[in-house]
């Protein structure tokens, strides 16, 4: 019965795809169904859900989550103010000499917008609306592939929401693993994940820029004939400067991600007021978008909290820890198995569900055997991004297809996506082969991995302690 947590995941994935119901409702529904079954067969008692209230209070008092509405506000303001359009036009004009100005500007807009959307699904929605129509009709499959790629950039480009939450999930998992194994050193934090993701993200972006340039060369020159007034250039340079400054502030540790997001929101509002583009109507729309999108993302957290409560009640975490010991003494096999499982899950679950439902389940026992948490975090990000992009079922591919009502054949789209997937595979292989290429400030908790059986015993002990400390 301990494997019920995995059945829950499978059921949730199937019901999500088959029903089209909101993911958060499906997660809550599956959790309720399995909880009812567990109570009926005497696996646990009906007091199980009394812990849910305390867990949700914990969510609402969690500092890091404050970043959520702020990132969404920034995204909404960029989308609603003429800024996205200005950035695109200036970018297309500035890069016209390359022969693929529109496509490169579209990719650039994706780099700016996707990290603020919070999920591949939300990014796909925004970019299908903001970028796809502007790319023109030449090479439709290449345009669609570009939007798919841009939708996944929020997974690896710091300081994205996905990175913030994955960093936090890794912190918790690393703490749990370190408590169990007694390894010395500091625990990984969100900042570490930001830093570590910078080099692979930069490499990936550089390769993708080259691919976009190659596949979109020789755009119709008349499409770039419209002029761009000097004020647009000033605005675009100012906006890019702000993004770079905030990114540098976070990367260098002068700002927390929450503060950077707040600064961005304040700066964008000031820009809107100063240019008189933030009219009452635009403001109302941006605020309504912010509230609704924040609600959509937070609902996933609430649902994931319910879902993982039931998974733990079934003892799936213990069962997985025991299962992981069966991979013998080679942690590399275990790492490969977990990454493969993450890749499969990412075909039906978005980055947020992955971070809050799957990562807490598999990471603590994995980090007991593979203690380099920073490296594992970056591999996780890269594997998630790649999985979102694999046709025909990759999450971003499905979402972009659905949002753009595209009728491009799967084979044509797969061909257009192939270079991007190859680029991701290359960066993934490089990170696997050369863990030292990641930027690390200090050495995180390291040591000799414990044996499988020892890990299982220690993990059991830690889980019992967690259960005793669980708020009632």
């Amino acid at each position: 019965m301990e494997a019920a947590g995995l059945w829950m995941l499978g059921t949730a994935g199937i019901v999500m795809l088959a029903s089209g119901l909101p993911a958060w409702i499906v997660l809550v529904g599956v959790a309720l169904a399995f909880a009812t079954a567990g109570i009926a067969i005497g696996m646990f008692d009906s007091n199980l859900f009394t812990a849910l209230y305390s867990r949700l209070v914990g969510l609402l008092e969690y500092d890091l989550l404050q970043a959520l509405p702020l990132y969404v506000l920034m995204g909404s303001l960029i989308n609603r103010l003429p800024l996205a359009d200005t950035l695109f036009r200036v970018g297309a004009r500035a890069l016209a000499w390359t022969g693929s100005g529109r496509a490169l500007a579209g990719l650039g807009l994706g780099i700016v917008l996707a990290p603020m959307s919070g999920s591949a699904g939300a990014s796909a929605s925004v970019l299908s609306h903001a970028v796809y129509p502007r790319l023109g009709c030449r090479g439709a499959e290449h345009n669609l592939a570009l939007v798919c790629l841009a939708s996944t950039l929020g997974v690896v480009t710091p300081p994205s929401l996905v990175l913030i939450f994955l960093g936090d999930a890794m912190l918790r998992a690393h703490t749990e693993a370190t408590n169990v194994t007694g390894l010395v050193g500091r625990i990984i934090n969100t900042q570490d994940v930001f830093h570590a993701a910078l080099v692979p993200a930069a490499m990936l972006l550089a390769i993708c820029v080259a691919i976009v340039w190659l596949t979109h060369r020789a755009e119709a020159p008349e499409s770039l004939a419209e002029g761009t007034p000097p004020s647009d250039w000033i605005v675009a340079i100012g906006a890019l400067g702000l993004v770079v400054a905030l990114l540098a502030g976070v990367a260098l540790g002068h700002l927390y991600a929450v503060e950077a997001a707040a600064a961005g929101g304040v700066a964008l509002s000031a820009y809107g007021l100063a240019t008189r583009t933030l009219t009452r109507k635009v403001l109302a729309e941006a605020l309504e978008d912010t509230l609704a999108i924040t609600g959509a993302l937070f609902a996933l957290l609430v649902a994931a909290t319910t879902f993982t409560l039931v998974q733990r009640a079934y003892g799936t975490d213990r069962w997985l820890a025991a299962l992981f010991t069966q991979f013998g003494t080679d942690p590399a096999i275990l790492l490969a198995a977990v990454l493969a499982a993450l890749a499969l899950c990412a075909l039906v679950l978005d980055a947020f569900e992955m971070t809050f439902v799957v990562i807490p389940l598999v990471m603590p026992p994995l980090l007991m055997r593979v203690p380099d948490a920073t490296w594992v975090a970056v591999l996780t990000l890269l594997i998630l991004q790649t999985s979102f992009l694999v046709p025909p079922f990759g999450y971003a591919v499905l979402m972009v297809r659905s949002r753009t009502a595209s009728r491009i054949p799967n084979l044509a789209l797969a061909r257009a996506l192939a270079p991007y997937i190859a680029a991701q595979a290359l960066v993934l292989a490089l990170v696997i082969a050369f863990p030292r290429m990641l930027w690390r400030e200090e050495v995180t908790a390291q040591g000799t991995p414990v044996s499988g059986e020892k890990a299982r015993e220690m993990f059991e002990k830690q889980l019992e302690e967690n259960d005793r400390n669980e708020p009632k």
Binding site: Y53, P69, G295, V302
Partner: protein, 159 residues
């Protein structure tokens, strides 16, 4: 119609909550100069922001339902007839969201009430107002319940 009246009330609550994101942004933006330059009040700013955040997201989930912005993988389901999808949504409201929110209310009322009576403070800073975070969870559950009742039992022609 009762259904329309409920919708107006929920809409009014959402409108009131829309503006909370401004003080939230300003308080969190102010944390940086307060911490690094003033060397005081940054934790107070953070605690107030936490309360505002809790109230904001408590309302936000229902607003996402009202505006149909919840993330969904509707790759297959967008081909289903509209009537099927509407029935499925009503069924989900009745069978999932109503029992879930009722249970949350049932398990949260006593601890929230006790917290209110004690005017519970933030544990680390001892600043007042922590009880509002506990109450925000009840607000979240209540709004989800009301919206789910409306969606599940509204007259079919509104669906």
């Amino acid at each position: 119609m009762a259904s329309n009246a409920v919708d107006r009330v929920l809409g009014g609550i959402s409108k009131a909550a829309l503006l909370l994101v401004w003080p939230l942004s300003l308080l969190l933006f102010a944390q940086w100069p307060l911490r690094d330059w003033v060397h005081a009040y940054s934790r107070e700013a953070n605690d107030i922001a936490q309360i505002i955040f809790a109230l904001y997201v408590a309302v936000a989930i229902t607003e996402a339902t009202r505006r149909d912005t919840h993330l969904a993988a509707d790759v297959l389901a967008h081909r289903y007839p509209v009537r099927w999808r509407a029935r499925l949504a009503r069924l989900a409201s009745a069978a999932i969201l109503i029992p879930w929110s009722l249970f949350l209310l049932y398990s949260g009322v006593v601890p929230a009430w006790n917290s209110l009576l004690q005017l519970e403070r933030f544990a680390e800073t001892l600043n007042p107002g922590y009880f509002l975070i506990r109450i925000a969870v009840l607000l979240l559950a209540t709004l989800v319940l009301v919206q789910a009742l409306r969606d599940a039992f509204r007259p079919r022609r509104d669906a």
